[in-house]
Symmetry: C2
Subunit: 73 residues, 2 copies
Amino acid sequence: MNKSVIALAPMRRLCEKAGADRVSDAAAKELAKVLEEIGAKIAKEALDYAVYTGRKTIKMKDIEIAIKKVIGK
Amino acid sequence: MNKSVIALAPMRRLCEKAGADRVSDAAAKELAKVLEEIGAKIAKEALDYAVYTGRKTIKMKDIEIAIKKVIGK
């Protein structure tokens, strides 16, 4: 696997905020990996919407619609 | 909103990797926010499994089952 775009420290913080005392390295990496996959999907979807309106800059509204498409939220 | 656990720079990188030229601040923040929400859900679910087996350390297997529960993957 390539180096993650998302760092491990924030993954540990998320787990600690949830109440964990500690987080294994492998667990932090797995969490970073899945969030990165979801993020990449949202980014691709958002770019499709941006490009559709003639932009190559992703704006808030592109991310908002992409989240709805990808997460169904 | 509290300060994000997930930084904005990696959100920009995800969008650039998807092919975007630029990403607005609001878009990067929105992407960080949704990934953080999903990450927090996974972390909480993972901790439930850890605690169930008498640990307060989150391990890889806790994250794996939590991802299945939260993302259905």
